[in-house]
Symmetry: D2
Subunit: 327 residues, 4 copies
């Protein structure tokens, strides 16, 4: 018997307050609720779509990405995570290692097998991570009009989950915002406006084609080891209008070398994570955080093959990842 | 103050029983301890090497792999994991999902931000996984002669950990053992000998070059949904001598569509996971388990570009992964 | 910087939907929302009270309880919990045991210290448990009118938490409902009405005085080992009106040898856990579940000294406990 | 099929190194291994005993304890634990709270049931805790000669576990070491010798009878809020000889208002936790840590009824507890 069963076979009462919710949903569609306002669902890929911009992944895109491999050089874009990695409170992460059944130096079998095993405890939004379309929405409504009450379950979301996302094999482009601003790294809270994004991309000759992964380099990741507490409490980045601009380019995903892509503290403390709403909820564009861009920047790379196979945790809304860039 | 400190500043007593350990180490080097016997360290890549066969990853290898991409088709080789995924006891895995700080339908800010977050609890050796060189050894000695006592720590191994492994971007080859045996899938406990591996590869024209990932398809993964309990308690696969043969081909990694690559129950119940010892400990070759080979087999693919960026859990010995095959 | 800070310094938007909530709160006060209807807060112990019926714990009550100790016999009323203990989905529980830093048989110091340590992962509502007044409410309102949005936080409730509950040292009484019904145990779903409770207590000469712990014996706990799946999916017990009757006796807590005290499946599948609402929310009376009553029943004990010191997990709403009965 | 099965049906190899272990066991019995040397098992309660000093719990002892209740005043001797509680590295503890299935303000049933649930992740040796006889030993041998390899399992110890311990209902005595030393609290690392224990108890007229719980008050717990880092890295307390003295009084348990009862840093950094070895392993006496003694000291109480029902985690070696003192 399931929990739903224990809660009442029909759970007729679960709909008791939905009239009120309808009211809030109408508000969510009003201009105040998002950067651009207006209706934002159903999705351009149809009312049943769960993939969003992953619909832009095509064999042609894979081939385009493959052609970018010239030197045969690879870059890991993930950072190592452990107990000390700063994360959005109260998130944490730990791996615990031991040798099961081998107390007192015991081994297994005549071949004296020894093994080490590891447990994991924590949150999936730590370190280098992907935000699925189930991660963040507007007034309890997520990508393609999916309401929290309809798909968020304690044992995992029943739609839009991490396990539905196909492999990301596509073209990646990098915008070096630190170089654009003429300094080693942007400051905490420093906003990069939509206009500045446009200028930086023009200056650096970065052209985004539909289905690309757009990676923003701010240099902020260098703060991680210098001052973990500062790293995790502030960051440079974009805002809602900047996200609108990027969304207009139809990327598969937007990533950065920061833990949240957006400028924090927010300019208007009463408008929070609006860029996430624009990308994830309104446009079905994935977000990649804490990308290690240092190797690519050191090599002056602005385009590359991008490959990501995220762990397929069924029903999860995020995953700790390690995308691979190849040139 | 660290735990080591609390345990005694010098911990001189920690070495108290090492004489005994030396005896066991000598035994580990004797023929009985492994398939081939003899000294097995230092590694061919030098006494300080932690990468093993990942040393075979080169720009030329990346370019060779890239040239295998013709159709632009991608395959995810991970399986979805959740509370019900069978795993080596007492391993388990769960993701728990909820909306922090949003009780009673609350949202954040004037833009009514809603978000879903996820916690993870369990073990890293569940579902599709990579075994690092720190995972399994011979009589408390691991790859390149590293002793458990020197590098296994509760908070993570200090050598050979998952976070040290570079991206796997290389050629993948698939050997279809089910087709070789002329049946939809091999049986639980069914052994594929070294000779049979050689014959199957010859018949199917599979040539392994150094640094390749060798993937064995047994069809066993189809048992996972039919009979999870059976899936997790038995499996077809190789043994120590088979692993020796594969190791002689110098692959980067050996994988299979089973949870342990080796035939279980073991022929000799007193010789357990000898193939793991041969691959991981003696040869520095990584192991990939529970690979989803179905798409590749359906397409008759026997070679492909293989890309894996495993999550960089510092000090972990395994990781749940989702490698990407590209053709 | 805290998460609240990251969510927007003033979080003015957090109140955006509170008008709607006010509507629901009014509904909660209407007759339909609870067994007896009417206003149910502030509490009889004042609008700031967090203790509820624990206000009835007095030195006189302690002395009264102490006088019940005649034989010097003790009973543990907790059951052992492990990976196999059935629990309300998706709750689970596990303890993992190993010897940190002692790989390969190492010991610490010249005195060769060895130690075993244990990790815990799971939920607090497993096995023998206490429900605090923060555990269950009516339409997002809990004991004494506390709204979920005001005190429920991801890192722990800020009011009504387990850590606020004083030691329970009081008189315990046991009602043997199995004996009353003339069978070894009640059936799954079997309802014991308010009238039957009254009759059983009269027959068995059980008088409840304010501040007592009332323990109901149904015999259901014997199903736990016979058929764990059945045990966890059904149970005999009381309903809302029965809870009203018990509440009228002003006990400190109501407990049973079942996992939820109330009869499940519910008579009306659209009215769930109403007894919990009556006890916890409306009356500030604690609930104790999965009490092991077997020893007391075997000895024919109907009153005893009851002592419970629950672990003080700050901000938790439940705790796994092991109350002690003494006669 | 169990893990043991997967490891080889007979696991004959598991005994392969036991000859060496025999050597170490002999060493453990030699004078160097413990404070007093000599053979320390079988236990005085027989070779099969798992209870140790809990054998001293008798009805007469319960009655003796009950007679100490005069005022009807209760004291909780546990401290609240949360994410910030300092603990022996790498131990940690957290409770995570949320409202399952209630996203967007949903409730259950026509009675609008709302509920809060809580997950626990961490270690059991945090905050106020009991050490079972399975927690600490001498050279991989624990109370009554139990070897780690024979009873320590990843899923829980198969002997000496927390779930075997009967309720502690007995006389408690408190020795005020701070008052004895004439200061508000002892210093980090400050040793209280066996002679000083004897003097303090004589001065304060504290007589221990077999089966009592002996509680040492050092005042150190007041450091917990002032300086958590200092609190957790040092502590005043006893040593091996002091433990021998206390053991000679045949208590059920020895506790203190410190996290480890013994003086840390250790006088001889190469002799660690010898007091634990004396109490737990050699004498079967339980240890209670981080007891909150403040209320008892403020009231000048030196004897009281002591009641502890520890949560019955099957196979655990420790538990977070909240003993109750009653006067």
């Amino acid at each position: 018997m399931t929990r739903r069963g224990l809660m009442g076979a029909a759970c007729a009462g679960c709909v008791a307050i939905q009239a009120g919710s309808g009211v809030r949903l109408a508000q969510a569609q009003a201009p105040a609720a998002g950067a651009a306002g207006g209706n934002w669902f159903p999705s351009r890929w149809g009312p049943d779509d769960q993939l969003g911009a992953a619909n832009l992944l095509t064999p042609a895109k894979v081939q385009e990405a493959t052609r970018l491999v010239r030197e045969g050089k690879t870059y890991r874009m993930g950072i190592a995570v452990d107990r000390s990695t700063p994360a959005f409170p109260p998130r944490n992460f730990s791996v615990t290692v031991f040798m099961p059944g081998q107390e007192d130096g015991q081994t297994f079998g005549a071949n004296r097998m020894s093994y080490v095993d590891d447990m994991v405890n924590g949150w999936l939004g730590v370190g280098t991570q992907i935000d699925s379309l189930a991660h963040l929405g507007i007034d309890n409504v997520f990508y393609n009009g999916n309401r929290a009450r309809d798909f968020v379950r304690t044992t995992g979301v029943t739609k839009l989950g991490i396990e539905n996302i196909p492999p990301f094999v596509t073209r990646g482009v990098l915008v070096d915002l630190a170089r654009f601003k003429g300094k080693p790294r942007l400051d905490g809270g420093e906003l990069v406006t939509a206009d500045e994004l446009r200028q930086a991309m023009a200056q650096q000759n970065v052209r985004v084609t539909p289905g690309d992964v757009v990676v923003l380099h701010t240099g902020w990741l260098s703060v991680l080891t210098e001052n973990p507490q500062l790293f995790g409490s502030q960051e440079p980045g974009i805002d809602g209008p900047g996200a609108e601009y990027l969304a207009s380019l139809q990327p598969l995903a937007v990533g950065a070398d920061t833990w949240g892509v957006e400028a924090v503290p927010f300019r208007n403390p009463n408008v929070v994570w609006q860029g996430h709403q624009v990308l994830l909820a309104r446009n079905g564009i994935y977000i990649l955080e804490n990308l290690d861009t240092r190797g690519l920047v050191a090599d002056g790379a602005s385009e590359f093959m991008f490959v990501l196979g995220q762990p397929l945790y069924r029903g999860a809304v995020q995953a700790i990842i390690n995308p691979v860039a190849i040139r």
